[in-house]
Symmetry: C2
Subunit: 371 residues, 2 copies
Amino acid sequence: MTKQPMQSKFSFFETELMATLLEKAQEYQGKTHPNPLVAAAIYKDNTIISYGVHKKKGSHHAEVEAILSAKGETHGASLMVTLEPCTHTGATPPCVEAIINAGIKDVIYACDDPNEQVRKQGAQEILEAHGITVRSGLLAEDAINLNQAYMYAKRNKRPYIHLKAGMSLDGKIALASGESCYITNEASRKKVHEIRAGVDAIAIGMGTLVADNPKLTVRYNLLKDQQKAPKIIVIGQQFLDKEYEIFKSGYETILATSNESTIKNQFSDVWCIPDQENPGINWDYFLNKCYENDIYSVLIEGGRNLFSDVLTAGIVNQCSFFIAPKLFGQEDAISVVTLAPVHHLADVLSLTNIKSEQLDDNIYITGFCNE
Amino acid sequence: MTKQPMQSKFSFFETELMATLLEKAQEYQGKTHPNPLVAAAIYKDNTIISYGVHKKKGSHHAEVEAILSAKGETHGASLMVTLEPCTHTGATPPCVEAIINAGIKDVIYACDDPNEQVRKQGAQEILEAHGITVRSGLLAEDAINLNQAYMYAKRNKRPYIHLKAGMSLDGKIALASGESCYITNEASRKKVHEIRAGVDAIAIGMGTLVADNPKLTVRYNLLKDQQKAPKIIVIGQQFLDKEYEIFKSGYETILATSNESTIKNQFSDVWCIPDQENPGINWDYFLNKCYENDIYSVLIEGGRNLFSDVLTAGIVNQCSFFIAPKLFGQEDAISVVTLAPVHHLADVLSLTNIKSEQLDDNIYITGFCNE
């Protein structure tokens, strides 16, 4: 049998419209948390009737926005949306209900919603039971990438963990004296702030808090109007109460500690995380605690001990390194990580799907840990 | 006084022709050593009469090739050449004499020849004394880059030193066990062989010879017909006579040692280099020995001790790192360099004019040491 070329189940108009919707959704980056970015449109005979975008938690979902904006012109029309319509009552009633009531005749969505509430009964089943044609998968990969952390977190019930370090060519993050400001250049620092602006939380170890007293704010005006700042999580024991910079930003601060006697001090919250034999803190518990608190992505910013612990625990999804063209060469300078001995190169920790970019005289390298 | 825009002293035809000559010269890359790559042309009324390229030591210089190929049509013609014509008798008589005798009326060359024989009396002075118009500087930078090592070596009376290391993200070149094959990927290794094909010598420390027993040959068919293979220099004491791979390639091998009692064994040559208090071998003596032997560029390939010694001695011009996306993290793994302690980040060894390139999942970073 001769294989026929597969005909796309989506028209050029539909593909173009989905691309437009992904762009419209993207405009609300950082503002919809803990909800995903979603945009929708109502159209008939290749003519747009209305658009709708989800703007923030508690506001209308994109589908309802689009239906309301269509001013009654929804009967027999089509609806396109970047994410599977919700089927449950959350802060708002389910979107499938609104779609059915609006007399929509067919629905296209880009990708499934891994939210467990939605997964109990998928949108396709409900809509089709009401005689609505449903197609999905149009630009699905782009739609998944649009809400990378949300998708990852909802699927795995834990946040996406991104480790970031600024270091020398020989993998040193500080001199023996602790001096580390600034190994990397302005262009690298700006990119770090871009990454910070895209995560729900930034985590550092107690040692880094005490030694570096970092601000951990998002600078360069990268936080948009109404965008929530990332939470700051300090992980460790023996908190030494001082006037740390992290308390001056107004950002929510969390102390994650296994020291039950810890008092809250200036932190917004304290999470008591039970200890685990090796490598210390119970990371499953920590990840779950993040997820329960709607933290879908965490940027780990240092120091060596925390880097080493999370890599050893195997909970890191992505590592990003900003490499300055310097050679420290001091044996007592602080290395980016300390890991258990391995006896063969094949057993060394390797990153995959490497991407790199030169930032003036620094090199940015990002890669992913095997899961 | 209003500044007038400077009129270029070269026409479009002349600029195009020089670019063509630089390409023609480049074709003999690796074959003219210890002479530079040079090409020339004779032309009249914007019409090319003949070309000439220097093909190997002892053959005609490019200018003479062009004059001979012009079959008598040189009277009143112009001559263009990528390098200042020679003014001294070497393996061949001086080119300025041939140019004068051919009745050439004007000469354009790209850049001066730093060769001290030529510098005793420049070509311009001699040619102008014979009524020949001389212009220079056309695409000079490209012409200098064409013979980078030759230019550097002739100017500084020492070879250009290029350090190359393959390492992990955290700057490790081998496990504690010494295992280092292969940290980097195939694409990186191919680029290493390209670099090898372009140098006059490859140097390693005695420790690397014994531990890794490398071939150090130029593979991937990168050595062209008639191209001389790089010499292999082993630096160190206490040579342990064994059937090393370097002796199997037919490449010239040199032992550079301060151990006067060393016997030649299988080496093609032994250089006795006096010791120096710190950092060991007398590097000035070594560099001079290379220069005397027409070695204008040396690629230092390892190991850590040699890297550290040459960096500490301040004799390195360029460093290239091939970084694999791996994290060793073992404190006992072998770091790329060990340098003296510094107390401030400002005092750390920094590279400049960084260039980088992603080679599959490896990153190639090259930079220059301040001089």
